[in-house]
């Protein structure tokens, strides 16, 4: 009988530490599948960010470097400039990329660094216990927006994918979700495409993945999954925002 579903070779065989119903594990799996697909495990270098995904080195069977909070895209650029023959990706939360590390994210895209950023957007600071993130939705209650996010003092949720898609340097920008099988299949294709762009030296690739954080949203896994569809996707529309067909500098 043909084996149709197995653990990607790129994922180490230990259970994730993520909370039940957390989508980080699914997003990790998508990255691992893409690495397996292109058979690049032995030439891939991952850069972990600070957030719930900091333990990336426990799960991915590739070389991994830990970056300071927010700096993963600068760190990855440094890795890539030193080793242009390697595949380099970051996995960053929304606090990491859209708040403290937004300058590094924008300039990495703008320089057209030939790396891949996986942006895990769960609209909240997971690791530090559910504080407001730059991507927290208006009205959403968090531990530091107890009355709900109010644009008069907190501003609006940032749409990172749209922002990065405006930059000439970015080659591939997409936003996906993993809340149902149809979206999951699209997410899988987008992550694969992002790595393909890097392999083909097309330039900067970016995939924003909308993730549920049931723990800090104060929801069950099912409720959180539903919230992605009903509240997040309407504000953060899914799709491919930019896809370069030919490397500009060629």
């Amino acid at each position: 009988m043909e084996l149709v579903f197995k653990r990607p070779e790129c994922l180490i065989d230990i259970p994730f530490h993520f909370c039940p119903g957390c989508h980080h594990g699914i997003a990790h799996r998508l990255v691992a599948e893409a690495i397996d697909y292109f058979k690049i495990r032995e030439k891939t270098i991952g850069v972990a960010s600070v957030g719930c995904s900091v333990f990336m080195y426990d799960y991915f069977n590739v070389d991994v470097l830990e970056a300071p909070h927010g700096r993963a895209s600068a760190v990855a650029s440094g890795v890539k400039r030193a080793r242009k023959d390697r595949i380099v990706f970051t996995y960053q939360g929304d606090g990491d990329l859209a708040a403290i590390g937004i300058a590094e994210g924008i300039h990495t895209a703008n320089r057209g660094e030939n790396i891949t950023i996986i942006f895990a957007n769960n609209g909240i600071y997971g690791m530090t216990g559910g504080q407001m993130a730059p991507t927290t939705l208006l009205g959403q209650k968090t531990s530091t927006s107890p009355y709900g996010r109010d644009f008069t003092s907190d501003g609006y949720p940032i749409r990172m994918a749209e922002m990065l898609a405006t930059l000439e340097g970015s080659a591939f920008v997409a936003r996906v979700a993993v809340n149902n099988p149809a979206n999951l299949m699209k997410a899988k294709r987008a992550v694969r495409k992002a790595f393909q762009m890097q392999i083909e030296e097309m330039g900067f690739s970016f995939v924003e993945i909308l993730l549920a954080c049931p723990t800090n949203w104060g929801m069950t896994a099912l409720e959180a999954n539903r919230r992605v569809e009903e509240e997040m996707i309407p504000y953060f529309p899914l799709g491919i925002l930019k896809e370069r067909k030919m490397a500009d500098y060629l």
């Binding site: 030439k43 070389d63 440094g78 400039r81 080793r83 390697r86 300039h107």
Partner: protein, 363 residues
């Protein structure tokens, strides 16, 4: 093999005598040490370094990035260094402040690299005049956590070159960031420079480098340790390294120490001025010597202690209101008088002004 894989040092051209600026000497030494990766953000008075490297690195197949900030610079450096390649950044005081978190991560993850601080005066925006106000920041860690950085303080253009070569070697030997601490005086002045082959050092193989897990287990470079006891073990391991540096890497220059009754202690640009003052004092028949720490960490504690067995008068001269003087006091015997002459940023004291201080305490 990838061109930036480290360790090996290019056989440099035959010794070449040229006239160079201190900052340019650093850039040349970097290239001659096979450092082909530079990341930095413009700031006076060190712009000659990125300007020189942006011009010369491309021809050597290197990479130059003018980053969006010093925060990005230090993290680009962290990433490049993690691959085992030699890499550097340079900046001046406010920029070095911004780099502190990254330096702490590099010390914690045991990543070697060169950080150049052609310091200016502070606090805050301060000014661009020469200053030694960053002594504490450089030698006390600067960033968070219990770590040390190798700090070398050149006092001539030749030393800007030689100590840059040494800094790369020491960084690789100890898997630790190393800093060149200079100022506008040494950075901007032109002097004859012998651009010679960088001294070879037996360096450990960088088997920890991230190069892709081909035919080996994945390598991890991190500073997060959450398991019971893991972090204290890690801290002790780092401590052992710093102790080894103290044993093996102390470098200093001593001048007229044999019969000295008063010792001047000064580093970098102030040591140049003080050396002339010591010569003038000798002309007047005063038995005065100079001890110039070249490594600010590890500090020449023992040399100072040994001297203090017979010399009971010390005068520390600095371009600040008193920082290294604390290390002098910590190093010498208790019965020694340690005086201080400091000059906050603005103008450099003349050799005569320092001589005046020497006369005052010589008695």
């Amino acid at each position: 093999m990838w061109p930036f894989e480290c360790g090996e040092i290019v056989e440099n051209q035959e010794p070449e005598k040229i006239l160079a600026k201190g900052n340019e000497a650093i850039a040349m030494a970097a290239m001659d040490s096979r450092c082909l990766l530079y990341f930095g953000y413009p700031i006076t008075p060190q712009n000659d370094i990125p300007e020189y490297l942006s011009k010369h690195l491309p021809a050597l197949g290197g990479e130059f990035i003018q980053a969006e900030s010093e925060i990005a610079s230090i993290n680009l450096l962290l990433g490049a260094s993690a691959t085992g390649a030699r890499a550097m950044t340079s900046s001046s005081s406010p920029g070095i402040s911004l780099m502190q978190e990254g330096i702490s991560y590099m010390a914690g993850s045991e990543l070697p690299a060169l950080i150049v601080n052609i310091s200016r005066s502070g606090p805050g925006l301060g000014g661009i005049s020469p200053s030694q106000g960053d002594y504490f920041q450089a030698t006390r860690g600067g960033g968070h956590g219990d770590y040390r950085m190798i700090v070398l303080a050149p006092s001539s253009v030749q030393e800007m070159y030689d100590l840059t070569c040494l800094a790369f070697n020491l960084a690789d030997k100890y898997r630790n960031p190393a800093m060149i601490l200079g100022d506008a005086l040494i950075g901007q002045m032109k002097e004859p420079l012998i651009r010679r082959k960088c001294a070879k050092m037996d360096l450990p193989v960088k088997d920890w480098a991230l190069t892709g897990a081909q035919g080996r287990k994945p390598n991890r470079l991190k500073s997060l340790y959450l398991q019971d006891g893991e972090l204290s073990e890690h801290n002790w391991k780092l401590h052992q390294k710093y102790e080894q540096m103290k044993k093996e890497e102390v470098r200093f220059e001593s001048f007229f120490t044999e019969d000295a009754k008063l010792m001047v202690a000064a580093f970098g640009s102030m040591a140049r001025v003080s050396k002339t003052s010591v010569e003038l004092a000798r002309e007047e028949g005063m038995k005065v010597g100079l001890l110039r720490p070249i490594t600010l960490f590890p500090y020449p504690e023992k040399a100072l202690y040994d001297l203090s067995q017979r010399v009971k008068l010390f005068l520390t001269v600095e371009l600040n209101t008193g920082q290294m003087v604390e290390d002098v006091k910590l190093s010498v015997e208790r019965d020694v008088q340690v005086y201080f002459y400091g000059r906050p940023p603005g103008s450099l004291p003349s050799p005569e002004e320092v001589l005046e201080e020497i006369r005052k305490y010589y008695g």
